[in-house]
């Protein structure tokens, strides 16, 4: 046995090929060598770690991950989403979640009120209504269960709904909800951001318009750093 084997074998020097926060496309090599580990949206093939999604590279310790910039919303337990009622079933409502899979909102998870047998469910929530709901369960077959029995979860009335890229939702909310609180304070609007990319804004017509413009601006400039400060300046006065 040679000396090399005793030392655990010959290993190439590991090398990180991309900078932090660099934009990559699927198939790009992020790092060479075994010293790095593939994280979210990346995979290893032989010695290389490749990108699986379009997004920004983040390196924490040895793990390389990608925060994706596009693609559909993936439902996760605990997410608050805004959905559209598309059907009424025997026991509840079927809700379009903005994914390929619809969710079910059972009567018992929708309201605390007692509902008599055979009551007309469309009197409570009609087809076409929008609701703020929470995802309580996602099965391996992507069946989604929803609930509406917590504070803040309700049927939407008034105001306006706008659609944004679901990957930009964290930027609209900001660190510890700093951004959304800034928007609420500066526009005087009630703002609910669904994790699936639907945003509900209700306030004065001028306030709603201002909030809508600000949200679109955040969506466009989501990759910039120091966004909360620049949005503070943008919203200015008031």
């Amino acid at each position: 046995m040679s000396a090399r084997h005793k030392l655990g074998g010959y290993r190439k020097m590991s090398e990180l090929l991309k900078k932090e926060r660099e934009i990559v496309i699927p198939g790009e090599i992020l790092a060479q060598g075994m010293d790095f580990l593939p994280g979210e949206n990346t995979y290893r093939e032989n010695d290389n770690i490749y990108a699986k999604a379009l997004g920004l590279v983040y390196v924490s310790g040895r793990v390389i991950k990608i925060t994706s910039l596009s693609g559909p919303y993936v439902p996760m337990v605990g997410d608050r989403i805004i959905g559209k009622v598309i059907d009424i079933t025997m026991t509840g409502w079927r809700i379009d979640t903005g994914t390929a899979y619809s969710g079910l909102l059972n009567v018992k998870d929708a309201t605390t009120r007692f509902i008599k047998k055979g009551e007309d469910l469309s009197k409570i929530i009609a087809i076409g209504d929008y609701v703020i709901v929470m995802i309580t369960q996602v099965t391996s077959q992507r069946l989604i269960d929803l609930a509406m029995r917590e504070p803040g979860l309700k049927k939407i009335t008034g105001g306006r709904i706008m659609k944004i890229n679901s990957h930009k939702v964290p930027r609209i909310i900001g660190k510890q909800a700093s951004m959304v609180n800034l928007l609420r304070e500066k526009t005087g609007c009630e703002i609910t951001v669904g994790q699936n990319g639907l945003v509900w804004v209700r306030g004065t017509p001028e306030g709603e318009l201002k909030a809508e413009g600000a949200i679109k601006r955040i969506e466009e400039r989501s990759h910039e750093s120091g966004l909360t400060e620049s949005m503070d300046a943008f919203l200015g006065g008031k």
Binding site: K84, G159, P205, L209
Partner: protein, 263 residues
């Protein structure tokens, strides 16, 4: 979205709109670009807000119709491409595409905007036929006005191709500098009624809540050449005259934008 539709109706009664425009204000920018296609005799791409429509003019020599042996003709066809909206499918034209092409056609035809007699080359034998194709690139609302604007811009930019004097064959690769015999410049303007208020240049969401609409095509002197009423509710005589006044005013505005950008 029902939420937004209710908001649009509420705001209309307060003389406001969901995007902050005045009720009778066109979206910005209004962009007109001509000669975008080298295979067509005339072409234009018009953008109003986010709505984008392309129009192309082809000229061909055909045998005139029997009842008008000394006249050429026009044909307008519209295609609502699947790329312009999630609502449209490929395949034979639907009711919306047929209405769009017919309303545009009627505005041009009934104004007698093109001197059909001048299109005739040999009575009963040969005349120029003007074939206009309207293709939507993005439908963000108000296709009627944008398609009308694109059609007029394409007609204005059209030049006859070179015809071989001996064989009579058309060389589409070479253009003369002779324009179409345009005598008038009709432009359609559609006025929508939302919650009893008159609205111009609606977005897709506003188009989902209107009660009635009236498309009025007027030429440069303000003469009405064609009208088309749509929607489920009725219009009173007073409303119609208000709509016509508004359409004439806005047609002058659009014509100004067109002339500014075609220079």
């Amino acid at each position: 979205m029902i939420v937004n539709q209710n908001t649009i109706k509420d705001l209309a009664s307060k003389q406001m709109r969901i995007d902050g425009r005045a009720l009778t204000e066109y979206r910005k920018p209004i962009l007109v670009e001509t000669n975008i296609s080298w295979t067509a005799e005339g072409s234009a791409r018009v953008q109003v807000g986010e709505t984008v429509v392309m129009a192309g003019v082809k000229l061909s020599l055909e045998k005139p119709y029997n009842d008008t042996p000394d006249e050429g003709g026009i044909m307008i066809n519209a295609e609502l491409t699947p790329l312009s909206s999630a609502e449209y499918e490929s395949g034979p034209p639907g009711i919306k595409a047929i209405e769009l092409s017919r309303v545009t056609d009627r505005g041009i035809r009934e104004a007698k905007a093109i001197d059909m007699k001048k299109l005739c080359v040999e009575p009963g034998e040969k005349a120029w036929f003007v074939i206009i194709d309207i293709v939507t690139i993005n439908d963000a609302g108000n296709l009627f006005d944008v398609a009308g604007l694109a059609t007029l811009a394409a007609l204005k930019s059209a030049r006859f191709p070179v015809v071989d004097t001996e064989t009579g064959a058309i060389d589409y690769k070479k253009k003369t500098d002779q324009p179409l015999p345009l005598t008038k410049e009709p432009l359609p303007v559609t006025v929508y009624k939302i919650n009893g208020n008159l609205v111009i240049d609606p977005t897709v969401e506003e188009e989902q809540v209107y009660e009635a609409r009236l498309t009025v095509a007027t030429d440069d002197k303000g003469t009405i050449s064609a009208m088309q009423k749509g929607g489920t509710e009725s219009l009173s005589i007073d409303e119609i005259s208000m709509m016509i006044d508004l359409a004439q005013e806005k047609a002058t505005f659009l014509r100004g934008e067109l002339d500014k950008q075609l220079q």
